[in-house]
Every structure is written in structure tokens, then in C-alpha cells.
């Protein structure tokens, strides 16, 4: 059975690591997410609790993969 060898890791690869924006920008993103949720709830299209549970569980599940 033939197989392609895995690419070797090089220290220079670390230089391409993506960087998060500043704290202020991140706080603004959270505020926008909260405002959208507030708007949805006030417009009478509130997300049902079981759907919220599924959303939270899905995000937690995928994120748990990154738990060391």
C-alpha cells in the first residue's frame, strides 16, 4: 500500500499563525452578538430553549476538541 509522507514541520511555519484583534474590537463583537440576540427576542422571534440548548451543546462539543 503506497502512502504520501506527511509534510515535515518547520519552525518558520509558526510565523504564519493568525492573530486575534484587540480587546476593544473583541468587546465590540460581543456587544453586537448580544444586541442581535436582544433584537431577535424583542421582535417576538425568540429562539426556543431546546434550540438554544442544541446550539450551545454543538459549539461546546466542537470546541471541546481543542481542550488539551
Amino acid at each position: 500500500m503506497s502512502s504520501t509522507p506527511a509534510p515535515r514541520w518547520q519552525p518558520k511555519d509558526l510565523a504564519t499563525a493568525p492573530v486575534l484583534p484587540s480587546r476593544v474590537y473583541r468587546a465590540c463583537v460581543l456587544a453586537v452578538a448580544a444586541a442581535i440576540s436582544w433584537g431577535i427576542s424583542r421582535s417576538g422571534c425568540a429562539i426556543p430553549t431546546p434550540v438554544l440548548a442544541v446550539i450551545l451543546a454543538a459549539v461546546a462539543g466542537v470546541s471541546a476538541f481543542w481542550s488539551p
Binding site: 504520501t4 514541520w9 452578538a33 440576540s37 431546546p50 446550539i55 451543546a57 461546546a60 462539543g61 476538541f65
Partner: protein
């Protein structure tokens, strides 16, 4: 986790097409473990009188909303907050002690259960609080099985990558972005829970 479980669920065929039986078993048992926890949580909730009772559910939604909004700041890296983490991890020795299929299933089940393994995002604990307020066992089982599936799914996408130091580094690059996404979801769901708790929704 990456270096132990990826070789287990994909065997030596990193470059073969399709998902192997070990990977399928891992995914199925992860969903099963999650569903089992959902049923246990629903049973506990029913026993203490939360499930199906609006005043108790509203109190729990309010608590979950406060935790979600507070820990959204932590996940986004804006502030630091204390966070209880279970230090236990699935034992690496299972990969040697059991057959690949059995070990994949055991790893899948334990990771799908989630409660006694290391989960570093607050979203998981907020999800548990919300599951406690669900009315039916089916809803609770589905919600928590989605956690198990979500936890096993990235492994299936990594089937073509041999686990090495480079893969671990590339995955670690994305950790801040994963945390930020958790922060956004927590902020969104926190407000949704708050409006439900206060009766605005």
C-alpha cells in the same frame, strides 16, 4: 487527545478515502454517551422539580444567562475569571489494552459523556444548565448527543492528516478563534436566556 485518538480511529489509513469502522464507532458511541448524560440530567432535573416547572426553569435560565454573559468575556479573552476544570483525561493505555474498535468506542463514549473529562470552555456548563430546564427527555438526549457528535466530528475531518507536531501546532493556532466564537455564542445565548427568564421573549 489529538495524538492518541486520531491514530486510534483512523488506524494506519490516514490517506485512504472514506470513514473507517473505528471512526464510525467513535462517532456513534460519542452520540450515545451524550444522549445518556442528557437523560440523566433530565432525570435529576425532574427529581428536584426543575423540569416542566416555569418558575424553577426561569430561575435557572436567569442563572445560566448571568454565567453565559460573564464567561463570554472570559472566552473572548477580555478578562480572566476562575474556571473549574476536571483534570482527568481519557487514559492513553486503552489504545494498547483494547482492540482498535473497542478502544475507539470507549474513547467516544467517555468524550461524549463529557462531564468527567477536560472541557476548557464555559459553553459546555451553560449548555448543561439549559438542558436541566428542558421539558422532555428526548429534547435533553438530543441536545447532549449533539455535544458528543460535535466533539467527535473534528476527528473525522482530520482523517487525512497524520498526527504530528505540525498538526498540533496548527490546531493550537485556532484556539483563540474557537474561544472567541464561544464568547459570541455565549453573549448571544445569554441575552436570549435573560429575555426568556424575564418574560420578554
Amino acid at each position: 487527545m489529538v495524538n492518541t485518538i486520531i491514530p486510534m480511529v483512523h488506524g494506519d489509513g490516514y490517506h485512504k478515502k472514506g470513514i473507517g469502522s473505528e471512526a464510525k464507532a467513535h462517532l456513534a458511541t460519542a452520540a450515545l454517551g451524550g444522549a445518556l448524560v442528557g437523560l440523566v440530567l433530565w432525570g435529576v432535573s425532574r427529581l428536584v422539580g426543575i423540569s416542566g416547572r416555569l418558575p424553577a426553569s426561569r430561575a435557572l435560565w436567569f442563572g445560566a444567562a448571568l454565567i453565559a454573559l460573564l464567561y463570554a468575556l472570559r472566552e473572548a479573552g477580555i478578562c480572566t475569571l476562575p474556571f473549574p476544570i476536571c483534570r482527568r483525561q481519557v487514559p492513553r493505555s486503552w489504545s494498547k489494552r483494547f482492540s482498535p474498535n473497542m478502544a475507539s468506542m470507549l474513547y467516544g463514549f467517555c468524550l461524549g459523556v463529557g462531564l468527567f473529562t477536560r472541557v476548557t470552555v464555559a459553553t459546555f456548563y451553560v449548555a448543561i444548565l439549559v438542558v436541566l430546564t428542558l421539558r422532555t427527555p428526548v429534547e435533553a438526549a438530543i441536545a447532549m448527543s449533539v455535544f458528543g457528535i460535535g466533539r467527535a466530528l473534528p476527528l473525522l475531518f482530520l482523517e487525512r492528516h497524520k498526527p504530528d507536531r505540525r498538526l498540533a501546532i496548527v490546531l493550537s493556532w485556532w484556539t483563540p478563534f474557537v474561544r472567541m466564537a464561544n464568547g459570541m455564542i455565549l453573549a448571544h445565548c445569554g441575552i436570549a436566556l435573560l429575555t426568556s427568564a424575564l418574560g420578554f421573549g
